[in-house]
Subunit: 346 residues, 2 copies
DNA sequence: GAAACGCATGGGAGCGCTCCCATGCGTGTT
DNA sequence: AACACGCATGGGAGCGCTCCCATGCGTTTC
């Protein structure tokens, strides 16, 4: 029952080689023969054995997503599911299969890495991580596995795709400045992560561009959690800002609660801008003005970059690509630019 | 540089077969020889070529998760990420690799299915879907691929793992009854999905067990979305219930908003119980009483079941297993049982 | 002390493919 | 008319493993 190339060849009255040529679209097969073989393949529902094939071609048509992130963060955040969707859809469209590897514990990492990479099962890897310190990068580089990083990575030789965190943050803060704010505070993410650091840079750039002073009391270092948004907002109030740029929506929602409890009206007393545009951002009261990042496109672009790498088999040491996708300011109520009546300026 | 079995054999001064025996833990290798070979393997960082191996063993040590769900639902819902985590962690722990397949469009399904399954790349499959009509089941059955369904599946011959939706719903409703409610309405999920139907069954069982009448105006058929929670609550108010059992937290939050707008206090004027225990459930005001399902364990259990299937290679037609995991009632404020001060009964 | 057995080890075959080279045929060249 | 050449096709080799069988040796048995 397990049909092989040879079997199809016998059925079609040709040789194994000819069937192989048909399957691999080799030009030198007579159209008539090709048609006949294709029909037999269709009728028998034959499909070449992947292992046998990759044993000789050294290609598996499988790529892997490696997520070395700690578990909790991973699954609270709507970021990864969307990224994963972008990646899957794209790899499927290109007839590649997708393997998913989470490195859960630090202990697991070495063993899992070896199993995943060492067995020759993979054509390439997408690394979704913001931690620059992860050992994975070094190992992949050393093992000469083609890979693409989602996020910014400082090493010039690494291919990466990121969203424009700096530009997005800058845009958000300049929007606040445009509304007349001058005392603008910021609630940052962890600066050990590129997006955390970048969003702060964007804030600084915008302030500097308009000669607005940035004092230490205008900056609170959070960690993207709602509770850090709450404590951050409380602390920032001491500097009596008229607006706060918050580096994530989840933190912004924490801030919102605290500010409300303090008796402040948003946006009349204090304006708020978030980052991410998670689904709750539009649902809270008042709806959150925020910076939207194209997460699905991020995954799709990373996948496309990886696949193009695989297709061209570039000489090692070739210039790596880095792609930055634009972010977009979504103006809702919390910044005070739009009116409280959706769709109008009132 | 690509090290092979033969290479290791030469380095160790033994034969290819002996090295193979060491790798596969075959007993008949002298302890001394075994140790020596193992050391060489460690030193050289050798790893057997997966494709070559599976060409002869017909095993790949790869399992796949197939999610035939439509995209939107998939990635709004925190269910899938958690499920995926349970699956990955477990398969990793058992040294299995995980492939992820989303069937996005109906058109894509056939082609993707063929690519995934037909190539012999997979040892087994976990299907995460609640739609009984999906063609995947039939194809998997027909192709004799070992698989496990996450969710209840009526066919006796199918292995499946589910959470106790009926019991959970029943528990929730009985809790409300215990608090003195008699006019209890319900806001259901889509009844084409087993969990939607099961949660309604649980409601009916609880009501019947206490001789409480269930009239049509006490039931609204929603679709798990927040907006259907809003319209559902509005409509159910006509029956003036004193409590509503809502089949999902997201819908419950929609209902919450509508009820508030109608001037009702929760839980004083109307009690509310949700289902799922998503992370926002604890964050809303008042915190939502809800039924928690062990999603990570669900994924882990499904994976373990599949792996045990693979290990035992049961005769086709052997009795399938169905495992039901218990759900748990999480009592918070919205039902009126706990007081408004967390941690106390006031 | 010879036959019988057990265990550790080596080498051949073959899994299902792709690739290369050899073959055969039709066409174009001189 | 003889040759070279191109293209379509067939078959051998081999990818890196596992499995089976053959071999050789030490130990038991009567």
């Amino acid at each position: 029952m397990p049909l092989t190339l040879e079997g199809i060849a016998k059925l079609a009255g040709v040789s194994r080689s000819t069937v192989s040529r048909v399957i691999n679209d080799h030009p030198s097969v007579r159209a008539e023969v090709r048609g006949h073989v294709q029909q037999i393949i269709r009728e028998t529902n034959y499909q070449p054995h992947a292992a046998a094939r990759s044993l000789v071609t050294h290609r598996t048509h499988i790529i892997s997503v490696i997520i070395p992130e700690s578990v909790t963060k991973l699954f609270t955040d709507p970021f990864f599911p969307l990224l994963l969707y972008g990646i899957t859809a794209t790899s499927n469209a290109h007839h590649y299969d997708l393997m998913l590897s989470l490195f859960n514990g630090p202990g697991e990492e070495g063993e899992t890495y070896r199993r995943i990479i060492g067995s020759g099962n993979l054509d390439g890897v997408i690394v979704a991580s913001a931690h620059l310190t992860d050992a994975v990068f070094l190992r992949l580089l050393q093992d000469k596995i083609p890979f693409v990083v989602v996020g910014r990575y400082p090493d010039e030789s690494v291919n990466c795709v990121d969203v424009d965190n700096i530009g997005g943050a800058r845009m958000a803060v300049e929007h606040l400045i445009g509304l007349g704010h001058t005392r603008i505070a910021t609630l940052t993410g962890p600066l050990t992560m590129t997006h955390g650091a970048d969003r702060l840079s964007g804030y600084r750039l915008a302030m500097a561009a308009h000669q607005l002073p940035v004092t230490d009391d205008l900056i609170f270092h959070g960690d993207y959690t709602e509770s850090s948004g709450m404590t951050g907002a409380k602390q920032l109030l001491a500097a009596s800002p008229t607006a706060i740029f918050v580096a994530s929506d989840v933190m912004a929602i924490g801030a919102l609660k605290t500010l409300r409890e303090a008796g402040l009206r948003i946006p009349q007393d204090i304006a708020l801008v978030g980052f991410d545009d998670v689904s709750i951002a539009a649902a809270v009261e008042p709806a959150l003005t925020t910076v939207r990042q194209p997460i699905i496109r991020l995954g799709a672009t990373a996948t496309e970059l990886l696949l193009s790498l695989l297709a061209s088999r570039p000489a090692a040491g070739a210039a790596a690509q880095r792609i930055i996708l634009p972010t977009e300011l979504v103006v809702r109520q919390s910044c005070g630019a739009a009116g409280m009546i959706p769709g109008t300026s009132l």
